[in-house]
Point group: C2
Chain length 131, copies 2
DNA sequence: GTTGCTGCAAAAAGTTTGCAGGACG
DNA sequence: CGTCCTGCAAACTTTTTGCAGCAAC
């Protein structure tokens, strides 16, 4: 039913190669190098299709546009740098999160976002302020 | 500088009285009962102003429109019911969250969202399935 | 009496949809 | 070769902005 097209392959490849989650415009720009006449609509349609197949996941940071990343990296969370506004992966995951909710609630999943300064931005600040 | 207007008062009152975070259209509908000729633009402008004053906070659940709630409830997190799509408060907050990130990262804040079934939806399911 | 705030409408920004032609199987 | 997918443009949705009049201080 679902066809394997150059566009979907290109978009999946772009996300696979990405160092961090990408926004639709970023995906369009990068994938257009592989499929020149690529349009926005196709990007959105491909993202929906890939998401339905559980090949990618959405990363939503409050106040930020939705970003997409491959599902091949497994369960993890994200760190958002308040300075450079980049998204980083956080591999750790606390086990007891479900206990946060009152017992009448049935917890099936969770999402954690950490905010702060990434190593680069922290160093930059330290260097200019300290030495 | 910032003026105290009927519109802002009405919107703040609506959020104060709300049982859960509200979307801009919901806020407009409720506040319009207090200030009849209220428009969307004013709601958005008031929300930005109240947010700047730290009187309210945004609650963003992936795939859901932004919601707003009063800041008077202090630090807490949210539970999103996958069935009825309502948002609930979670008072607990794990202390050691900052340790999740690699040590080079400076964690300043965090956000947790739990997903699952709220008591009502869980009961409904249990009743029809079990007894 | 100033000047910021409001309501309305128009504009932006982001995402979806309709349609004719092209690529996949 | 049929039909799903694509590219383009138009439609939608959500949020922002411009402007004349009004209300807060």
């Amino acid at each position: 039913m679902e066809r394997v097209t150059q566009q979907k392959l290109a978009i999946a490849a772009v996300l696979e190669a990405a160092e961090s989650p990408l926004t639709p415009p970023e995906i369009l720009t990068r994938a257009a190098k592989l499929v020149p006449r690529l349009g926005v609509a196709t990007v959105y349609r491909a993202l929906r299709s890939l998401r339905k197949d559980k090949k990618i996941v959405v990363v939503e940071i409050p106040g930020e546009p939705p970003r997409y990343e491959t599902a091949t990296r497994g369960h993890h969370h994200h760190f958002f740098c308040n300075d450079c506004r980049k998204v980083f992966e956080v591999p750790e995951c606390p086990a007891k999160l479900a206990e946060l909710a009152p017992p009448e609630f049935q917890v099936q999943d969770h999402e954690i976002i950490l905010y702060g300064k990434c190593p680069d931005c922290r160093t930059r600040r330290n260097v200019s302020a300290a030495d």
